[in-house]
Symmetry: C2
DNA sequence: ATGAAAGCGCTAACAT
DNA sequence: ATGTTAGCGCTTTCAT
């Protein structure tokens, strides 16, 4: 049996209440007794039972993090980890523990027996929730409002007021990427987008369109390929684009993820095209591989760690406010992106200029 | 207020006990009452409070996962994520939740105020523990025995009996890597190792030595460079090796991680050496970048996901056994590695053959 | 400054 | 098959 405050109380000769007070540094306890209690607790290797404590205080000091739809929503391996780290560091610095929920993995992709996102949170009594990789067509998307604790979404527009969000400034990022190609002289620029049910896809498409419009170029739907954030879909996009009539073929492509961009480049190579001489490509994310592929990928860097850290700070802040009754915090944040120019982009081949 | 079993009891007109029994599918409850109780629970959106339940059952259905010494112990970004996924899928399939502890991050690298690994586990009352990235010189390494729940270490030799471990077969992996170079005709083969306080370093060094010995080549300590798993240390190793007298200079190097191998290759290139024409290099891990660097890296693939999944299965199994009193399970597992031959290895330049 | 009593939501004897 | 009682370890009124 683990040592409890009762044990300590018995040894010191005080009540369990006194022990609780001493250990929690309340001031209504004698200096001397406090010291003695603390000493004994130390000696006995006492650890307060967070479960018991949580039951009475109705606070578990835990934040739930959902990592949804792995691989299929843009949160592929290289991306999610740093976001998780950002969340972890931030909540742990604030004295919270992180409970990680993975849905969409091999094991539980099918069944969803009552173990809804909200349900899991309520059972485990987490104090706050962060979700990444949620799709707007997730059947549970709308039910997030049933959560009675602070919740912030990463990269997804919230279904209703009260739910926060953090995301990169995807519109601006994609706009910058497109403008980079434009400034290089490209005119026929394609968009290799993610699937339609990711908020980021819509945003990046918009940035692309804006850049085009500003340059006086009409948006051509035939130059947009809807992928699914996978390397494979990038390869398929390459086939699609290259099958276009010669004078419609893009000389540059903006991809909504590095993984897709890399898949595209590899297929392009396999088809005998050269990057960037024949076609330029710019990615999105700046995953580690982006710097290592041949040619090194020009891409839009996202502040992955900060995405997580910011989300965590937001739920923590809401937690604070719940207590102090302050004004409601800003509903969301946009994090700046950085265009990292490497070698996968160059002026278009002569005839395309 | 959330709905409790009392609420349900009141509505259905039975005792809370009956509700508990019905909801937990005990058989000592009438078929009809059970149905009615379940229906009402459903309607009310009842969620059982895992905290309250844990307090009485002394089981929280949570597994703690420590991700230690990020970046510095071989568990760099590209590696840890998949291990975490393996753990997550496995525990969640078994109905457990995962609580993630990150130590060694920016925020809490310094302070360790009583929040010891073991202490955290006891407070949160986790049912089992998995640790990755632990160093054998960690001051808390020895105190893991104080844990009174199942514990398994990933990639680290356990400090004492009763603690399990899972790791890749590092000796064989490094031996294979070295033999690959040997079979290509290399004779002066260097070892770019991780720091001395990682168990894997010792093991990989041993595999390297064995291969050398089998080939009748004397082990030369001057050809072993102790890095720290970082890209930087790989670069330093390149400088060190190339500063050696010409006839001692290695024609091939076995690195204990891809990250170091990549750092080494980049510095080698910067120094005007060609890979693999002038020096061959083989990595360890097979991170995503390994396939993408130029030239694509020959490396020893580790089953990262399985490392996590196996560790999880081990603690789960021990949890089972605690209940059923079965014989004690095997203390550890070794997972097979795969040599992935790509283009960073080739026969040595003529004079070196 | 300290203690007694009550209770958080649930389950587990022990009745009946 | 169902209810009663008790209690998990802790905090929190409310006394004193």
């Amino acid at each position: 049996m683990a040592v409890t405050i009762k044990d300590i109380a018995k040894i010191v000769g005080v009540s369990p209440t006194a022990v609780s007070r001493a250990l929690n540094d309340h001031r209504d306890i004698g200096e001397e007794t406090r010291a003695k209690i603390k000493r004994v607790a130390q000696e006995l290797g006492y650890r307060r039972n967070a479960i018991a404590r949580g039951l009475v205080t109705r606070k578990t000091d835990t934040i739930g993090l959902f990592v949804l739809g792995r691989g299929a929503t843009g949160f592929g391996d290289p991306f999610a980890y740093e976001v998780i780290l950002g969340v972890m560091d931030t909540v742990s610095a604030a004295g919270y523990d992180l409970v990680l929920y993975g849905v969409g993995g091999p094991s539980n992709s099918g069944r969803c027996d009552g173990a809804s996102y909200v349900g899991k949170c309520k059972e485990r009594q987490v104090d706050g929730v962060i979700m990444m990789g949620l799709r707007t067509d997730d059947p549970q998307y709308g039910s997030l409002g049933d959560l009675d604790v602070p919740c912030v979404l990463i990269d997804v527009a919230p279904p209703q007021d009260g739910i926060g969000f953090v995301a990169s400034d995807n519109v601006l990022g994609a706009k910058n990427a497109t403008e980079h190609l434009l400034s290089l002289g490209h005119r026929r620029i394609a968009m290799l987008n993610g699937h339609a049910h990711a908020t980021v896809s819509a945003e990046r498409l918009e940035g692309y369109k804006i850049a085009l419009m500003n340059a006086g170029i009409a948006y051509d739907p035939a130059l947009t390929f809807e992928g699914d954030f996978s390397s494979d879909s990038g390869a398929r996009a390459a086939e699609y684009f290259m099958a276009l009539p010669r004078d419609m073929r893009p000389t540059g492509v903006v991809a909504a993820s590095d993984v897709m961009a890399i898949g595209l480049m590899q297929m392009l190579k396999a088809m005998g095209m050269r990057v960037p001489q024949d076609v330029s490509v710019v990615g999105f994310d700046d995953i580690p591989s982006a710097a290592h592929v041949d040619p090194p990928l020009t891409t839009v860097r996202q502040a992955r760690y900060d995405l997580g850290a910011t989300a965590a700070r937001m739920v923590l802040q809401r937690l604070e406010e719940g207590r102090s009754g302050m004004a409601f915090p800003p509903p969301g944040f946009r994090l700046a992106t950085n265009l990292i120019v490497r070698s996968s982009t160059a002026p278009p081949p002569c005839r395309g200029a």
